[in-house]
């Protein structure tokens, strides 16, 4: 008689054999495993030892050392850095009108970029999630994601070609008797929006998709028209996604200086000042790099409670 029961070859005496992907070891064979199993504290330590050594030992250490340099000064004649403790560099950031206006300009650029990204992401998200056919939705999802991968400098180069003196944008406006912004503050804002827009658009789109359909029904039943529903139901529910996206658009714009360098003409941002001073006057560069850190930290702490950090 043939049996459907798989034939089991007798195992060697004293040895357990299994058919799983790996052999099960008898408990207690591995003393390290057993010890780790008994002590959650040890397991946690084992998990965190390497990452924390790295982050604190390399990254935080470097930031702190940079911060310390901000309190040093540079000898005006020899350009040598002299260790010490002075607030002069920070005083100069506020008292020097060029430095102060650079900080404020950078802040205004970062806020404008965030605002523009939100203004375009919300209609885009609503269109993709609620208007577009499944085919068009899939197409748009790819179309929005693709530039995200296309390379940071490639996009700056693309904007440079578009807005250059005899470039596409000016040629397109010429019949209307207009001319584009050239390389200026406006072009920096547009370029940074171009760079960071997908970071806002994707979370906003996901959030629109997740809104339960019956909320729209309820809103319509209560007599709200399209725009009223969007304004009073959709937009408030998008707040966490907008905050998560704004962390990117805001902080990435704040620290950028290559957009200003390549499409900004004479526009200076905080990063431009840091980059041009790092070799000549490291203390003032260090002091200046505290400015975006403070802006970003204030922002992160403000939004931490919303749980937006965990969505990043």
């Amino acid at each position: 008689m043939t049996s459907t029961v798989p034939r089991v070859t007798p195992a060697e005496p004293g040895r357990v054999k299994t058919h799983g992907p790996g052999r099960v070891q008898p408990a207690g064979r591995n003393p390290l495993s057993t010890r780790l199993h008994r002590s959650p504290r040890l397991r946690l330590l084992g998990l965190l030892a390497l990452p924390l050594t790295w982050l604190v030992g390399v990254y935080i250490f470097s930031l702190v050392m940079l911060l310390i340099t901000a309190f040093w000064r540079t000898d005006p004649f020899t350009s040598k850095v002299i260790p010490g403790f002075t607030f002069d560099n920070f005083v100069r950031l506020v008292e020097n009108p060029a430095y102060l206006s650079t900080s404020l300009r950078t802040l205004s650029i970062a806020l404008l970029v965030t605002l523009l990204s939100v203004m375009f992401s919300i209609p885009l998200g609503i269109f993709m999630a609620k208007v577009a056919s499944p085919w068009l939705r899939a197409f748009l999802a790819v179309a929005i994601t693709l530039p995200l991968w296309a390379g940071y400098l490639v996009k700056i180069l693309a904007m440079r070609i578009t807005f250059t003196e005899n470039g596409f944008f000016n040629s397109a406006l010429e019949p209307l008797g207009l001319s584009g912004p050239g390389f200026s503050y406006t072009t920096v804002v547009l370029t940074l929006t171009y760079l960071w827009f997908p970071y806002m658009a994707l979370p906003v789109y996901t959030a629109v998709r997740q809104i339960p359909a019956n909320l729209f029904d309820a809103s319509a039943d209560l007599g709200a028209r399209s725009w009223t529903t969007i304004r009073t139901v959709v937009v408030p529910l998008l707040k966490p996604a907008v905050i998560a996206g704004s962390i990117f658009t805001f902080s990435l714009s704040l620290g950028d200086y290559l957009a200003a360098k390549f499409v900004g003409g004479s526009t200076q941002m905080i990063g431009s000042v840091i980059a041009s001073n790092i070799n000549l006057n490291p203390p003032i560069a260090a002091a200046f790099s505290v400015v975006p850190i403070v802006f970003v930290l204030v922002y992160l702490f403000a939004v931490r409670k919303t749980g937006a950090l965990e969505r990043m």
Binding site: L36, V154, S171, R225, I278
Partner: protein, 269 residues
């Protein structure tokens, strides 16, 4: 279902069209100009040739820069995978004092401007390590990249771990498997796609990074973005840059395709 008037739909559609035009015209201009005969980008493009493509593909500096980008990207991704996964496990499995701070610490390198990270690390490398005889050189650039790439792996793995049921692992341990064996046979296969996705994002982030690289690359070493930047700063051979940029634009289809596949695989899981 959201009921929109015809006018509202048309209005939304128009905004979407504007967004797409704004996104794709500049990129198309780059592609178009890579076939431009002229030395610098022009509009309109009147004469076409493949000349700059030949120049780009036979250029030794471009090849060297690409190789550097790949080496740095792979090194940083390998480190980021280890560090990010370890941290994700610690934060998902345990409650401990300072948990929120650790979370913030992982996000910080990407939340703070690249120039701050770059300047801080270069300060450590050049002004602290070099005087005591440690030439960190090339490795320093990989370390810098791994620091900000970590968060990509961390986020992906953490999100997956949150959705995984602990039952299978407990069953595995009850059946006598050790920690490592459980991890290898039970846990890892469950978050493998998130692990791969995180690694992919980390590599892409490193491959594209330029600001931190400016300050941490050893003298004379170019990554691909550094090479592009140097060419942009001296515009006499701008058309070769358009070829490299076009190749990068074309290559961006790969991660989009892979991520679509991964998310599909995830839905089937």
């Amino acid at each position: 279902m959201l009921r929109l008037t015809r006018g509202a739909k048309i209005g939304l559609g128009a905004i979407v069209a504007v967004v797409l035009v704004f996104m794709y015209i500049p990129l198309s201009l780059v592609v178009l100009n890579s076939f431009n005969v002229a030395r610098i980008a022009t509009w309109p493009v009147t004469d076409f040739s493949l000349n700059w493509w030949v120049v780009a593909f036979t250029s030794e500096p471009i090849r060297a820069a690409l190789l550097n980008s790949i080496v740095v990207g792979l090194g940083a991704t390998a480190m980021a995978l280890v560090l990010g996964t370890l941290t994700a496990f610690a934060l998902q499995r345990y409650s401990f004092f300072g948990k929120q701070t650790v979370n913030l610490l992982v996000v910080l390198p990407i939340a703070l401007p690249g120039i701050v990270t770059g300047v801080a690390l270069s300060n450590t490398y050049n002004n602290l390590l070099e005087p005591i005889g440690i030439q960190i050189g090339y490795f320093g650039m990989i370390v810098a990249h791994a620091t900000f790439c970590m968060v990509m792996v961390f986020n992906n793995v953490l999100a997956r771990l949150r959705r995984m049921s602990p039952n299978l692992q407990e069953a595995s341990m009850d059946l006598g498997a050790g920690l490592w064996q459980t991890f290898r046979i039970i846990t890892f296969p469950q978050f493998r796609t998130a692990f791969v996705a995180g690694g992919l994002l980390a590599f892409a982030l490193s491959f594209d990074e330029v600001v931190v690289t400016i300050f941490t690359a050893p003298p004379g070493v170019d990554t691909l973005p550094l090479w592009i930047m140097n060419q942009m700063a001296r515009p006499n051979e701008a058309s070769v840059v358009n070829v490299v940029a076009t190749v990068i634009i074309l290559a961006s289809f790969i991660p989009v395709y892979v991520s679509q596949r991964l998310s599909r695989a995830e839905e089937e899981d």
